[in-house]
């Protein structure tokens, strides 16, 4: 193989996925597998968020809310009616899609920038109150417990692979959306809104579409999450998960495709392994984020670009 054919990024992705796929067979520590599942879930939340914020340029801050709605709906349906969790997860996604598109998406058409951020933040912020007011169904501040698992006798390895497949499927969907006409419309609207409109881009339609996609996919992820954990409580909507998800996006690189996944690797695993540092955990994580943003404002994706340009220079100097 010639040096010029060497695409280290592709190889790294393949090796990374192979490692993830083979991990339960090779080593199979249940605790590490749990962390991996958290990584799958949060990578999806952050990637969906990035689709909305980075690509569509819609400053939504309520994505954890979309996640919780999907989770709660699915959990409640499965627990109260005993329906198959798979159907409940799907319904949770639909529920999240309908409520978000209706209460955030439609009003957001009339708003821009920071006002969408406020609206979506308020939307997510009303959820804990609604949850405590509907204690009999949602469990209130205590949360919802004993949510049935996906199927009887599920093991950690099953959950691991189910969430891994979910991770691959949803990331593929996001990749497809970015490279579809919808993705093109977003770049066009971001670059020059007036020109895009006169070339036939229907701004409202594209915005509603992305709200629907993102809330559905985030809602489904929420469903898989609660059926895996078996419970959900309003602490999901607390400030920490929110900030961590934002940090995943920032670290990975906003508006870059696999960026949020890379951010999630660092945040999720960093967050777990830094538990050794005790109360310093969040401070260390914060310092790491600051360092990355300081040296690479475009996040890890910019770091990768930088390595790429270095390799490119190396190649040309070898060639001459």
């Amino acid at each position: 193989m010639k040096l010029t054919d060497f695409n280290w990024k592709k190889i790294a992705i393949i090796l990374g996925l192979l490692f993830i796929a083979l991990y339960p067979v090779m080593h199979g520590d249940t605790y590490i597998m749990h962390i991996f599942i958290l990584f799958f879930v949060w990578a999806l939340v952050a990637s969906n968020w990035n689709l909305l914020m980075g690509y569509a340029g819609i400053f939504s801050l309520g994505n954890i809310g979309y996640f919780a709605i999907g989770g709660y709906i699915s959990g409640i349906l499965a627990k109260s009616f005993g329906w198959s969790p798979w159907i409940c997860i799907f319904l949770g996604g639909i529920g999240s899609m309908v409520s978000v598109t209706l209460f955030v998406g439609l009003p957001a058409l009339r708003l821009s920038g920071i006002y969408i951020a406020l609206l979506s933040l308020i939307f997510a912020d009303t959820l804990p109150t609604i949850l405590t007011q509907t204690r009999s169904v949602t469990g209130g501040a205590m949360g919802l417990h004993d949510i049935p698992p996906l199927f009887e006798g599920i093991t950690r390895i099953h959950s691991y692979y189910i969430n891994f497949v979910l991770f691959l499927v949803i990331l593929t969907i996001i990749y497809k959306i970015i490279h579809s006409s919808t993705g093109l419309a977003f770049v066009a609207l971001r670059d020059s809104k007036d020109f895009a409109k006169t070339l036939g881009v229907n701004e409202y339609k594209e915005k509603i579409k992305v709200f629907a996609y993102v809330s559905f996919l985030t809602g489904i992820t929420g469903g898989f999450y609660v059926h895996y954990l078996g419970d959900i409580s309003p602490t999901t909507l607390a400030i920490e998960p929110f900030l961590l998800a934002i940090a995943m996006m920032e670290m990975g690189g906003i508006g870059r495709f696999p960026g949020a996944v890379l951010g999630a690797v660092i945040i999720v695993f960093g967050n777990e392994f830094l538990r050794l540092a005790g109360t310093l955990r969040l401070a260390l994580l914060g310092a790491l984020i600051c360092a990355i943003i300081l040296f690479f404002p475009g996040g890890l994706m910019q770091f990768i670009d930088w390595i790429d340009s270095r390799i490119g220079r190396l190649k040309t100097s070898k060639a001459t």
Partner: protein, 241 residues
């Protein structure tokens, strides 16, 4: 007749930018609109292309009332426009700039690729295919903007001061391209310009706008000899009553 405005007026608060503008554009012609700064030329374009709707009056495109339609709907019907301040999608390649027009304006699935290649070839932009739009010079930027409009498959192309900022050679080259679009594609062209010489050169018919009102319509040589036009262009600023 491809486009007709009937008593179109537009007021911004108390300022009347357009007063009862009647205009008919025939299919296949190059129709020029001239007038001093602030005459309402760009407002007329914005009203026609749906950037905002007129205060009163009606706009008919190919027999359809488009007065109240949004910009993207108007584009779907076959009318595209360029902007005075050159607009492209700077983070996209030239090819993708055209793809926006072809995908959303043209609504074509399978022939998309072909349409883009043809348009690039027609405007001699093939060599810029993969260049980033932000790296182009002014002249090429204007061509790309126009190409993106053509990629929608429009039957009426509206050019808003396309010659501003170009050198003499570029102006001549650009006018050649406009003639080629008009002749080769059969696209009707509506062009705003305040460089009168160039407009007279390229237009089949012209309209002069002054303080929001039409003062003269006709063939270029007629328009040039019209006393009101001469007064507007030569006696400007002296007496505006």
């Amino acid at each position: 007749m491809i486009l007709e405005t009937k008593k179109v007026s537009k007021a911004f608060g108390r300022i009347e930018a357009l007063i009862d503008v009647n205009m008919t554009v025939r299919k296949g012609e190059i129709f020029g609109i001239a007038g001093p700064n602030g005459a309402g030329k760009s407002t007329l374009f914005n009203v026609i292309s749906g950037t905002f709707s007129p205060s009163s009056g009606q706009i008919v495109f190919e027999g359809k009332d488009i007065t109240k339609l949004n910009a993207h709907r108007i584009c779907h019907l076959g009318l595209a426009r360029t902007f005075q301040i050159p607009q492209t999608f700077p983070t996209l390649s030239v090819y993708d700039n055209l793809r926006v027009g072809a995908t959303f304006g043209g609504k074509i699935g399978r022939e998309l690729e072909k349409r883009i290649q043809e348009t690039l070839g027609f405007l001699n932009l093939t060599s810029f295919r993969d260049a980033l739009a932000s790296n182009l010079d002014l002249y090429t930027t204007k061509l790309v903007m126009m190409a993106a409009c053509l990629a929608t498959g429009c039957r009426l192309l509206m050019l808003d001061e396309p010659l501003a900022g170009l050198s003499m050679t570029e102006i001549n080259a650009f006018l050649e391209v406009v003639r080629k679009i008009n002749g080769g594609h059969g696209t009707t062209v509506l062009i705003i310009e305040h460089i009168l010489d160039s407009l007279i050169d390229v237009s089949d018919r012209m309209l002069i706008l002054h303080n929001g009102a039409v003062i003269c319509v006709g063939e270029p040589n007629e328009v040039c000899q019209d006393p009101k036009v001469i007064e507007v262009y030569l006696g400007e600023g002296e007496d505006s009553q």
